[in-house]
């Protein structure tokens, strides 16, 4: 009926459909953007319609939502959380401060560009982005997933050296446990 290639294509379509409609967000409010997550998740905007749901631990999660600026101290925890997540995994940068530092451009304690340290799939602009913007960011991510373009985890694995170098530059005392990638 089908040949192998077609069959694997169909499997891919099913997989991507399931992946895109079931995005579990790890419960980590890294910055002030966390305040817009409750409205996004609850009755007014109800992100659960799209299958977006919180998950308590990184092991179960698909999406790491960086809600705002990352201080150096948090970056370390975020990297660890990200590396404990299971592939495929996606990162959404939330708010201007993840893009270029935003209003914290001269702060000594926040990083200015998130994609130097973690592979970002989608950025959401604004300070702070409204829940509608968050949902539109998720929908953009869903599009990318269904097109197979949300390959942040792959990029991270392939360019691990480069990411590590950047991370080490910021995190002075590198005491991260080694992962068997």
């Amino acid at each position: 009926m089908f040949n192998d290639k077609e069959a694997s294509k169909i499997v891919d379509i099913i997989k991507n459909f399931a992946r895109k409609h079931s995005l579990w967000v790890v419960a980590y409010g890294t910055g002030c953007g966390a305040i817009e997550l409750p409205p996004t998740m609850t009755s007014r905007y109800d992100a659960e319609r799209f299958g977006i749901r919180g998950s308590a631990t990184p092991r179960q999660a698909d999406v790491l939502l960086i809600t705002g600026y990352l201080s150096v101290k948090t970056l370390k925890r975020v990297i660890r959380t990200y590396e404990q997540m299971q592939e495929p995994k996606y990162v959404i940068g939330f708010g201007s401060c993840t893009i270029n530092g935003g209003m914290y451009w001269d702060s000594y304690n926040t990083i200015k560009a998130l994609d130097r340290y973690l592979p970002v799939d989608v950025y959401i602009n604004g300070c702070m982005p409204r829940p509608e913007a968050v949902i539109s960011g998720f929908i953009k991510l869903q599009q990318l997933i269904s097109e197979g373009k949300a390959d942040g985890a792959k990029r991270y694995r392939e360019n691990l050296e480069w990411y590590r170098e950047n991370q080490r530059k910021v995190i002075k005392n590198w005491r991260m446990p080694e992962y068997n990638w």
Partner: protein, 367 residues
Amino acid sequence: MREKETTLYFGPQHPGITGNMMVKLKVAGDTIVKAETHVGYLHRAFEKLMEQRTWMQSFPIVCRICVPEPDPNEENLARAVEEIEGREVPERAKYIRVMVLELSRLAAYFLWMGGQAGTAGLYTVPQWSVGDRDYILDLFEELTGGRIYHMYIWAGGVRRDLPGGFPDKVLRTMDYIESRLPEYDKLMFENAIFQKRAKGIGVIDKDKAMEWGVVGPPLRGCGIQHDVRKDEPYEVYDKLDFVVPTYEGGDIWARAMVRRKEMEQSISIIRQVIEKMPGGEYYNKVPNPLNWYVPPGETYVKTESARGEFGYYVVSDGSLKPRRIHVRGPAYVHGVSLLENILVGANISDVAMIMNSLGVCPPEIER
């Protein structure tokens, strides 16, 4: 050598934590032997940044200190500048400020209610209350343009006047919210299991409460009637008629009930403000922000936020930029020394509830 007690990391990546902070718990069984608050995950060096900014540029920064309730910060900085300069504020602006402050207090209480119920495992309340809070945020959006960060109150008055028909909208929203309160009572405050979870947990010693620096609803939950709005009335609070509710017990339940009663008071204050709102200017002329030299001086201003006394110690050296703005958030004491002390002997199940009822909010600890 391995320690005897188990180490539990409560945060920063934890569903029960109130913001990006960490409480390192040492537990024996499920009883906490030692708790250590770790903060700094949200440190953006605001106080340093404000030394680099002009006075006016500091206003967008201070509101980001407290995410659930930014307006007391703006209010504090505005009042501090006005006090050092001796600048007068129009009466209308004062009323508008009180209205904004009370609206933000109400919004913060709704968020708190969701958090308190959510940490107790009652997931319907957050869904309702965060949704209802959004009606208040809609008001803010119409008034200020921002849902969360308003940058609305600034030295000399407020940024813009009330839009047309706004008072009516506020009153309608207040009517709606007041009609919702009995439902929350039924679902949460009168819920037998919630009472079982909340009563007798996280008790603050009444005799020591003042000395330990407890402020706001936790203090009033100990039965001590103190409120900055009454003790040292700012803006027009001395012209408004409201009571400061207190409850005995000092536990989660007392604190919850204090907040519940204050919601009614806030609604009443907002109605009075709109009723008494005078006409006139909303803004006194200030110098060009880029050339705004504030005379040397220092002051300590405080505002009653939803979590208690929010104080700013502001020093000006007469230049364009603030010399020092040091923020004293209520969570500074609640979240570190008080939390570390009352968590000892508590149960793991209650940590999140205690933190929520104390209103621990990390951004104001580390800024």
